[in-house]
């Protein structure tokens, strides 16, 4: 039978076993929070690029070939109004990456914008999160 670790190690391991979900919740992170079905929201993803001839909307569906199968499950429904609990925060955290992808897909674009609109079913409080990135072509 193996030796029992020192008390300090055991205490640290105990904190490591218990604390992460509460730390995640306190920091507003979905990852590791175990917040399951405690709320339900609608979310909509708006993508656009600004070129020299003005702003153009980009359909989320047009990104399909460039998304992983897992991303497709969560992102594609957001072309209209998708419904979810924790997924919306995953999409929100990935907004800069959508803007970057738009720049890559539209070489002439000056800026790319990814905008996530979410509203809970129960109130009218709408939350908008947006990420706008200057595209590399803008600096050429």
């Amino acid at each position: 039978m193996g030796r029992i670790p020192p008390r300090s190690v055991l205490a640290a391991l105990l904190v490591l076993a218990v604390a992460p979900p509460f730390v995640a919740q306190a920091s507003g992170s979905v990852v590791g929070s175990f917040t399951m079905f405690h709320r339900i929201v609608r979310y909509h993803l708006d993508l656009s690029v600004v070129g020299s001839d003005g702003e153009h909307r980009v359909s989320v569906r047009s990104l399909r070939p460039h998304l992983s199968p897992e991303a497709r499950n969560i992102v594609l429904p957001a072309d209209g109004y998708a419904v979810g609990a924790d997924q919306v925060d995953v999409v929100a955290a990935g907004l800069p990456e959508f803007a970057r992808l738009l720049c890559d897909l539209h070489p002439g674009a000056l800026t790319a914008r990814a905008r996530l609109v979410q509203d809970p079913f129960d109130t009218g409080a709408t939350r908008v999160r947006e990420k706008e990135l200057p595209c590399p072509s803008a600096s050429r």
């Binding site: 175990f34 079905f37 460039h66």
Partner: protein, 300 residues
């Protein structure tokens, strides 16, 4: 001094080896089922909707692709991704059989988290729970019974003419309890975190359940019965209450087994009403950690 005594009280002692083996086998079996569609011909499971073959295996999306890792900078090419998927499958089989069980559990957690972190859209709470369980199992003597490696060792001993221990089974061998206490702590924290997140007026008045029903997430005859008998608000409050009552019952030896039965019923009820993938099965396996009630000796 009080803290020292509390740590000793919590972590000193032994427990029969069967509990570790049972959790290992249950977790590995769930892992194998959840990460592939092996059972599609026999039973349709929720994840079969989007898992074909081995989960996360396949050709990458077209370039330029959305690169969205959970850990900044982490990017797996097609070869590395697929190699990790095959390694994951091999390790989960080794874990199930109990071959180098602790090492298999640790490596499986590492490989699984790497695949997980390479794409933020792979994140699900139940998968995170599965992987974190594996990490804790890597600290426990999970291969000391019901393992192929152990069985082969005993056969070799017998073949060489060495007497095999006369004990009826290694399942009843004493093993240290401290890893089990950490697994128990993990289980308690999952229940409490889920309960705390539901302490919200909009959940407790039943709105979230109403919307989940409207979206066909909550469905089935059992849900219909619950809703008609108790109403949205009461079901919401009861589900939140259960997430506090089950861990509270698990803490005390006198109520532990009743809490296990209550927890199993709770998870069966949730699984009958909504898609939670393998979460109910995983928690049911983890509840086994509370079944032993062996007294623990104080440290001298």
């Amino acid at each position: 001094m009080k803290l020292t005594r509390a740590i000793d009280w919590l972590f000193e002692g032994t427990v029969k080896s069967w509990v570790y083996s049972a959790i290992r086998i249950g977790t590995a079996a769930i892992f194998l089922v959840r990460h592939a569609d092996w059972l599609r011909s026999w039973v349709y499971l929720e994840h079969h909707r989007f898992v074909r073959g081995l989960m996360f295996l396949g050709a990458p999306p077209a370039e330029p692709r959305l690169n969205s890792p959970l850990i900044a900078g982490l990017s797996l090419g097609e070869t590395a991704n697929n190699a990790f998927v095959y390694l994951r499958t091999l390790l989960s089989v080794l874990l199930l059989l109990g071959v180098r069980a602790r090492l298999s559990a640790g490596l499986l957690a590492l490989v699984s988290y790497t695949l997980f972190a390479a794409d933020r859209y792979r994140y699900y709470h139940h998968l995170h729970l599965l992987y974190v369980t594996l990490a804790w199992l890597a600290l426990a003597p999970i291969g000391s019974s019901l393992s192929l490696e152990h069985a082969v060792g005993r056969l070799v001993q017998r073949w060489r003419g060495h007497g095999v221990a006369a004990s009826p089974s290694t399942l009843l061998a004493d093993t240290p309890i401290w890893p089990l206490q950490l697994i128990r702590a993990l289980v308690l924290s999952v229940y409490l975190a889920a309960g705390v997140s539901k302490l919200d007026a909009t959940f407790l008045n039943g709105d979230a359940l109403r919307h989940l029903e409207r979206l066909f997430v909550l469905k089935g005859p059992f849900w219909g019965l619950l809703r008609d008998v108790a109403g949205y608000g009461v079901v919401a409050k009861l589900s939140c209450l259960a997430e506090f009552a089950v861990p509270l019952g698990l803490v005390f030896p006198a109520t532990r087994r009743a809490a296990i039965v209550g927890g199993l019923a709770f998870h069966a009820g949730i699984s009958a009403c909504m898609p939670v993938y393998s979460f109910g099965a995983q928690m049911s396996v983890l509840l086994l950690a509370f079944w032993p009630t062996e007294p623990r000796a104080p440290r001298h």
